[in-house]
Amino acid sequence: VTPSDGDVIREVRRGARDAFGQLVQTYQARLFGLVLMLVREPTGAEEVTQDTFVRAYTHLDAYDDRRPFYPWLASIAVRLAQNWLRRHGRTARREGTSLESEPEPGTSATALDVLVADEGRQRLWRVVAALSSGERTAVMLYYRDEMAVSDIARALGVTTGTIKTLLFRARRHLRERLGASTISHEDMSA
């Protein structure tokens, strides 16, 4: 029987540091995927993922164990990813560019492709990665991580209305960009 997050956290709080490794194992792939989508750079994603777990450990007393663990962890990751983007000069002005434009400095499409094996998924991954920072954060947390809008709003420190707006815009951009890429692909095939 796998112990629940709550059991593991109680164990860690009692001083069993190594038990925290179980939480890292459980969430590392999910968290790394989120962070990679936010910072769009594998080395940066690795750094932010590690920092998130360390921060979670040192602030474990702030975690309310009546709530699920992952949204709390994700909220730390989002803040650290935003700090990372600020430190590395990824301003909002540069984000949300079209797919045809050159990748942002430090964003390697090839590096991301290596991490996502399936070719069909790579296209969607790239289109999501080209959304603005807010839109792709909302998309990842809502669709992939299946977090409730209220949990996302709490994690990002905004209202639920803002999250709904971000998701609305993200869906419109995805539809437009996926539609455009499908049309151009069909044109090329013809």
Binding site: R13, F20, Q28, F32, T58, Y63, V128, L167, F168, R171
Partner: protein
């Protein structure tokens, strides 16, 4: 029902708030309109794909690196329980100022007062301005004077030692 309105409904996804009849009309339009039909099909597909977005493989040693970093932090600033600062965990060791010098000083003063009780010494046998002549219980013997001086010294030390300690920790 216009294309713009239907596309808006498609983009709103689960957050569109309209009566069912409104949606029926919109999807009816989408079935007959190539633009909206295509958009609806695409939105349905990518919504499912987003839920199944793959989890990229993280570096294999994340757990080991994280635990090593935590161990390093705790080595520098040991916290027996995660997330709780060592200061908050440390059991209280009573008042921070050293009481003993002050208490010693007070005790010494008390001893001198008790010894000298009943043997008043005239310290002001004359009147000076508003001060009137009077008697006060003051130590007469040199031993008592020394004990009293030592007591005052201890008392003052007890008052000032904590201040110098705070200054040191603030500078350090």
């Amino acid at each position: 029902m216009t294309c713009n309105h239907v596309l808006g409904l498609i983009d709103a996804g689960p957050f569109a708030d309209y009566p069912p009849a409104h949606f029926d009309a919109a999807w009816q339009h989408a079935r007959q309109c190539p633009t909206c039909g295509r958009a609806l099909k695409m939105a349905t597909a990518f919504t499912a794909d987003l839920a199944a977005l793959p989890e990229p493989t993280p570096p294999s040693d994340v757990a080991a690196v994280v635990l090593a970093r935590i161990a390093e932090i705790e080595h520098v600033d040991p916290a027996p329980i995660a997330g709780v600062s060592p200061k908050r965990l440390a059991p209280s060791r009573g008042p921070h100022w050293p009481m003993w010098p002050s208490l010693g000083g007070l005790a010494a003063g008390l001893v001198v007062v008790l010894l000298g009780y009943g043997t008043p010494v005239n310290i002001m046998p004359f009147s000076a301005g508003w001060m009137s002549p009077g008697l006060a219980g003051m130590p007469a013997a040199p031993t008592e004077v020394l004990v009293l001086a030592a007591g005052i010294g201890l008392y003052v030390a007890g008052l000032f030692i904590p201040l110098s300690g705070k200054q040191r920790s603030a500078n350090g």
